[in-house]
Amino acid sequence: MNELFSKLYKEAEKIKQWKLTVETELNQKERKLQENKKTIEAQNKAIQELQFENENLHLKLEDEICENKDLLKEAAASRHLCNLLKETCTRFTEKTSKHEQEKAETIQLYEELHSNIERMTAAFEELRVQAENDRSEMSFKLKEEAEKVDKFEKECKLEVSQKEKQISALTIERDEKDDVIKDIKAQLQTSQNKIADLMEAKLHHEEMLKESQVSKEHLRAELEEAKMSLQKAEVTQKNLETELQTRVKTLIQVTGEKEEQEEECKKMKALLAALTEEFETSVANLKSLLQEEQNRLKKYEDDSKLLTLELQKKSAELEEMTKVKCDKEVQLEELSETLKEFQDLKAQLTSTAEKEQDYLKQLVTLKTDLEQEALRNEQLTVYLSKLSLEKEQTAQEKNAVAAEVKKLQEQQEDSKKKEENTKQLVENLEEANSQLRNELESLKQKMAKTGEEMRSALDEREENMNNLKKQVENKTKCIEELQQENKVLPKKLTAESKKSNTYEGKVNKLQIEMEKMNKQHKEAADIYQKDIETRKGNENKLREEVEKMRLLCDETAMIQRQTDARCQHKITEMMALMEKHKGRDFPACCGLQCVIPC
């Protein structure tokens, strides 16, 4: 029930509200009607006004139509102008397109030029750097070579001074050797004189020997006669026993004296043997001296080997020097100066060579002298051999004489035996026997004297022989020394000549290398100059091209300015036209006005 009441109440309220709303609406509608009536009246009034205005507007429209006709004409004109503008715009677009193409081309050209210029700059910088590096390297190398050349010159000067010193020492030695040779020559002459004297003595002794032989023959004949006399006097010997005994005694005394003489002969033989021993000892000493000299020779040979080694080292050094020089470049003026010095040295070397040649000539003369001396020595040896042969002959004669003496002794013994057997000597033959015996004694004395003289002569000859041998040995030593020195000297001369030749060859090589290097430098300079000239030509060409491009740019700028001026003129004309259109027709040109400021 409540719900129904509520619902009824709500509906009643709703109805009331509806009534109210309807009443309000009615009121509103009445008001609106009144307002509408008012508005209608106002609108009627407005319509009347509008009609009036319309009439006015009709009049205005007619005026405007006339103006529109004029405007049409003007529009046609403007259209013509617009067409012209279009044409001009098309032309301008074409020109702008052309200009853009040219601009692109100019940009490309500029880029190309820029790239070329950059390449050129890079190339020049590289050239400069290379030139600087090459020049620095050349300066360093030249300095090093100059230093090395200075060192080499110093070494050469030192070697030249040393060689000069050696040459001076060698000249001194040669002078000394000349003096020695002169002394030896004098000694040879004295020995020759002595040999001549000895020969004369030999001849005298030979004559004496012949005389002694003749005397011996005479004695033999006399002995035979004595034998005959003794045989004849055998009968009378028996009476003379006492006298024979006394004679025997005397004979014994004589035999004793003979034994004493024999002892003296033996002593002399012993002395000779001692002398021979002394000679042998001297020979041994000489042999030792020879060995010593051989040792000296070996030392000299070792020295020569050392010298050869030094020469080899020097040659190796020279080879090294040549290698070093071959690797390097050559100087001009300093080397010419060095060449001048070398020429001076050459002159000096030629002078030294001439001196050496003079020395060689002297050596040749010395050699001839030495050969002559050798020949003389050979002759002396021949004479010595002959003297030795004569000595042997005299010894043989001595032996023969000794044998004959022995034979005489035997004969005397036989005579003694015969006297003993016979014991009957003749008184008449006493004086003859005594005379014969006296003669025998004298002859024996003479024989002894001759023997002593012979011995003395032999001693003297032996002494002379020894002296000559010593002199010969000394001379041979000197000759050998001189020969060795002569052997060594030409080698030294040849070495020095080789060195000088090598130096000359090196100088020639250096000159050739100098010339080659000069030619190479000249060629390089020519090439560089040519490159520079070509690059100058290229630069000139590039400059010309740049100038051309500048001209083109100027022309384009001018054209651009002209086009700008023309555009500005046309723009101003257009602006004027537009302003004119603005002033005439506002509503018709409103669209244009809206367009223009945009």
């Binding site: 049409l72 259209r79 715009c89 210029i117 100087q331 700028a557």
Partner: protein
């Protein structure tokens, strides 16, 4: 009436002409704008090209380097030998 009709026809033609003119002017303006833009671009480019100091600097640099290289090359070997 004929005048009105002719006026109306003229009015319509004029309207069309105006519209045509309007469109044509608009087009022209656009073209002019484009052309002005292009002209300004061209002026900018020309100025940029003319005022580009790269070429001149590069040319001067190349001239300087060339002169230096020439001096280096023109030095005689004797001077080097003297040095």
């Amino acid at each position: 009436m004929a005048e009105s009709e002719s006026q109306e026809g003229n009015y319509y033609n004029w309207g069309k002409m105006v519209e045509n003119i309007k469109t044509d002017m608009e087009e022209l303006l656009e073209e002019m704008e484009k052309l002005t833009v292009r002209a300004t671009w061209m002026t900018f480019d020309y100025t940029a090209i003319q005022t580009n100091p790269d070429l001149s600097n590069a040319m001067q640099h190349s001239e300087d380097v060339f002169l230096m290289c020439k001096e280096q090359m023109e030095k005689k070997w004797q001077e080097v030998l003297l040095e």
